[in-house]
């Protein structure tokens, strides 16, 4: 539902990420109408698309959402490294692998939840959850997660 609404009004001032992708895709032919027919699949065109997306993201994303995204990338990298180590070096002791990898997965899921709940565009989905309340939930759940992981790694 929100996506359709956004497509109807292409330039909302308080844009969030869900909007940004749809609007960015929509804005590509508008910003470069001459280049599109001449070189349809040229690398320059894709370059343009990516650059556009990046610029839009940098311009329209609030600072806290960007912070969440950075943290998500960090967690994903840490998790990937642990998984790689498990593949290369074996899974002994297995509980250590489970808790180490599980900590990153859980943290990733919780952070995604925080991102969904604090995005301004999703305000209508969670009318009674303020960003402060979402952050408090996030902190409590994360602490529980860390407690379990540290306990399980023994």
């Amino acid at each position: 539902m929100p996506a359709k609404k956004n497509a109807a009004q292409p330039a909302p001032s308080a844009a969030a990420t869900t909007q940004s992708s749809t609007t960015a895709a929509g804005s590509v032919p508008a910003s470069a109408p001459a280049a599109a027919p001449s070189a349809k699949n040229s690398p320059a065109n894709w370059d343009k698309v990516l650059q556009n997306i990046y610029q839009y993201y940098m311009k329209e994303t609030p600072q806290r959402t960007k912070l969440i995204d950075v943290f998500l990338v960090f967690i994903a990298v840490v998790g990937a490294l642990q998984f790689l180590y498990c593949i290369l070096a074996g899974n002994y002791p297995f509980n250590a692998f489970l808790s180490g990898f599980g900590a990153t997965v859980g943290q990733f899921v919780l952070t995604i939840s925080l991102r969904i709940q604090t995005t301004a565009a999703n305000k209508s989905e969670f009318p009674e959850i303020s960003p402060e309340r979402a952050f408090a939930d996030y902190v409590v759940c994360s602490l529980i997660l860390h407690f379990f992981c540290v306990n399980f790694i023994n």
Partner: protein, 452 residues
């Protein structure tokens, strides 16, 4: 304290009887008490070794093997008797009951007297078959005594028995000696594991019935010939009671104990019958080949506690068993026969370990065998089991039950002890640190709502 008492009691008992481990009341069953004179040396030897010998004929009224459910004799010796059946007191059932009650029986047969039906039935119960018609004599036209049986060939002169198979104690081996078997009755053994032949007839011997087959022996009517014919056999029941069949009773008589015999074309030599008879009777009446388990000990390595009821999986455990062997009148350390092994099983239904026990040391009267091993990675109720059942030796079956528990929660190694876990520990550390940093920056940043 208890062990000291029991040792003292055992010593006292040994001093009183100083004979067999299973009692000293011996009953000799023979046709006529006067006949015992012929066996004077053999029976005198038994008396000298401490047996209380009673003599009875099968016809005797007062003869009874059990009184109020208890054995009245510890051992039976059957000498040849002309009585067809042995009467109501010596039925095959009674004799089997006697064996089941740990009584020992030595049956001596002779081809001059038909075997009693009672004994034939008892032996067939044990899978030992005698010739049909209860008579049959073993002859050998190549291994007979040229002095006493130059014509009839029914006195066999055989080399003293050597080992039947490897791994047996040499109780009956008399290197270099010869044995005389006058008027022997051969028997054939079934395939039971409890039966062991001691002397087999030579390949050229055969059994025939002198009354019916004196003229011609039809091959179809041959009872047995050659090595399948046993002259002396022993049976040890599961309760370690012993039954011995001696094919020739006359070899126990004084005139044959150290008679001069000569093989065909050989010089005359003295027989070893006396020593052989002593050993056969001694073995049957449990004077040799008796094993005793003095103690079984198992403990956790590095722990003082003896025989604990519970271990943990993968514990290092030591097990020792102390064994003695009775040799005529004293207990000596039990030494394993060559080519034989004493094994310990650590079993739950089936053995998880079957280990060879090694000699760890000996005392004056006991040998201590032991082994150390790591318990399997399996929890449950386990047995330390020593199951040593061999021919000529009383059965040893020692079972000690212990519980084996799994690791307790705090007995696992901590993750930081295992170097392999360090990347994952640092992974959790990175996640938590990242979370803290994220929270700090989040709270420092300007909320979205204020922007508008």
């Amino acid at each position: 304290m208890w062990s000291i008492l029991s040792v003292a009691a055992a010593l006292f008992a040994a001093a009183v009887s100083a004979v067999s481990t299973s009692g000293n009341r011996l009953l000799v069953v023979l046709d006529d008490v006067a006949e015992k004179e012929a066996y004077g040396q053999f029976l005198g030897d038994l008396t000298a070794r401490g047996f209380q010998v009673s003599y009875e004929t099968p016809r005797s009224e007062g003869l009874t093997l059990f009184h109020l459910g208890e054995r009245t004799y510890d051992h039976l010796l059957f000498l040849p008797s002309k009585v067809k059946g042995l009467g109501p007191n010596l039925t095959p059932n009674r004799l089997v009951d006697f064996v089941n009650a740990n009584g020992n029986i030595l049956v001596a047969l002779s081809s001059t007297v038909p075997a009693s039906t009672s004994l034939v039935s008892l032996l067939s119960e044990l899978d030992i078959s005698l010739p049909v018609e209860r008579t049959g004599t073993v002859v050998d036209h190549f291994n007979y005594d040229t002095i006493s049986a130059a014509e009839s060939h029914d006195v066999l002169v055989l080399d003293a028995p050597s080992s039947i198979r490897p791994g047996l104690k040499p109780y009956f081996e008399l290197p270099g000696g010869v044995l005389a078997f006058p008027h022997a009755v051969g028997h054939v053994l079934g395939s039971g594991p409890l039966l062991t032949p001691i002397v087999r007839a030579p390949a050229t011997a055969y059994s025939y019935n002198p009354k019916e087959q004196a003229e011609v022996l039809d091959a179809d009517e041959l009872f047995a010939a050659g090595q399948q014919l046993a002259l002396v056999s022993v049976m040890q029941a599961r309760n370690s009671a012993r039954v011995t069949v001696l094919g020739s009773a006359e070899m126990l008589q004084d005139k044959w104990l150290d008679a001069e015999v000569a093989k065909l074309g050989g010089k005359s030599t003295k027989t070893e019958n006396k020593e052989f008879a002593r050993r056969v009777a001694g073995w049957t009446f449990q004077e040799i080949g008796v094993l005793r388990v003095n103690s079984v000990e198992h403990h956790l390595q590095g722990s003082e506690e003896l025989n604990p009821g519970i271990y943990r999986v993968k514990n290092d455990v030591s097990y020792t068993i102390s064994l003695s062997e009775y040799v005529w009148d004293k207990w000596v350390p039990f030494v394993l026969p060559e080519d034989d092994l004493l094994q310990l099983e650590f079993s739950m239904l089936s053995p998880f370990h079957r280990l060879n026990l090694e000699l760890k040391g000996t005392t004056d009267d006991a040998a201590i065998y032991g082994v150390s091993f790591t318990l399997p990675d399996q929890h449950g109720i386990f047995n330390f089991m020593v199951n040593y059942k061999r021919s000529f030796l009383t059965n040893v079956e020692e079972k000690n039950t212990v519980s084996v528990r799994h690791f307790a929660h705090d007995e696992w190694p901590r993750s930081f002890v295992i170097s392999g876990a360090w990347p994952w520990i640092s992974g959790i550390g990175a996640t938590v640190t990242g979370f803290l940093g994220f929270c700090a920056i989040w709270m420092y940043s300007k909320p979205v709502g204020k922007k508008n």
